[in-house]
Amino acid sequence: QGESTRPLSQSEYQKYGRQMIMPEIGLDGQLKLKKAKVLIVGLGGLGCPAAAYLAGAGVGALGLVDDDTVSHSNLHRQILYVEGGVGLSKVGRAIHMLRHMNSSVRYVGYDYRLTPEKAVDLFRDYDLILDCTDHPTSRYFISDAAVLTGKPLIHASALRTEGLLMVLNNPPSRHGNNDEGHCYRCVYPKPSPPASVVTCGEGGVLGPVVGVMGTLMAMEAIKILVPTTQQADAQVTSPDDHQPWLITYSAYSIPSFRAHRLKGKRKDCVACSGAATITRESLEFGSLDYVAFCGGRVTYDVL
């Protein structure tokens, strides 16, 4: 009974008070956050602020996937790392910092490169996936694994002065109805030609640009983990508002942010429609060759 009357510790009440007094969160929402398990794939310029704000918000568990080590050129935008961490594992350094920021969260590190073979089993343990990676190959198989495991996916990317953000597979489903979330393949059925793919390492990126996108990912995560139907109903007054959106940011343009209406689910999507052909087996046993699909660039780097 002590448990049910004091669902949060006194220190949690102190830590989360400023968000719990909001009608959008409240005690009920805070308990939803505490129960939630969020997986962040990629601990670069997107993953660092996303992890910092989700840890601050008090999610129950934060999974962190990356096989990279911290380098000097990361520091201008990857705000969980310090100069003393250069050369060390990003997962290790991120958890070290996050634990100091909020010790109430359970952090689980995966110090390896995520592959299609590993993705399905890993995603099963989480409620929500954040794709903070840096290459078309990972973008596709993360989306496919999120669809196969029925997990909403927050997708963002950034390069130079620009960023993109989409919420995918929300609500998750593969029946092909119109009110179901679409997937990454619904937006991009075919990958970009390899010659057009530029990474942050090649093209550069401004720290606040990728920082804004990563921080917005944390906000979208909170919105998914704590649905505010009342709030949402009050604001959604036109059918357009149910349409899926793509948010773009362009730091040197006016207006800098734009919301674009997307088509949503494709009836013939190979991943998320009623006619889907992608299966767990095709991911795990390599019959889907993502590298070849994306044009044969073997390496990918997490920014």
Binding site: S157, S192, P193, C200, R261
Partner: protein, 110 residues
């Protein structure tokens, strides 16, 4: 290129983002007067706009960075007045005065 409007031209705004602007004189926003009739006498639709941009506006030689198999290449979203062109009729959408067409190349950085 000449952008002098003739009586029959359709004034539109075309924008390029996500690096596509590099193919178009590094200029994001272009105000164009599109001929209201295409090469084959068809109304000026988005398919005609894409060809027009390739032939009259794009300075970069690497056409395949913008067009493959006669339409915009994979990885580029076309937005007509902030909506996916597939909601508006795709490349058959007939352009109207003051339409805003954005070509967004997806980004992969993170």
């Amino acid at each position: 290129m000449s952008t002098e409007p003739s009586k029959a031209d359709v004034p539109i705004v075309v924008e390029f983002t996500g690096g596509l602007e590099l193919l178009f004189s590094n200029q994001r926003k272009h105000r164009l007067s599109l001929p209201s009739i295409g090469e084959k006498g068809q109304p000026a639709n988005t398919a005609f706009l894409v060809r027009y941009l390739c032939e009259n506006v794009m300075e970069d030689k690497r056409k395949e960075m913008f067009v493959i198999d006669g339409t915009v290449r994979p990885g580029i979203l076309v937005l007509i007045n902030d909506a996916d062109w597939e909601l508006e009729g795709g490349d058959q959408y007939e352009l109207k005065k003051n339409d805003n067409i954005i070509f967004v190349s997806t980004l992969h950085g993170g």
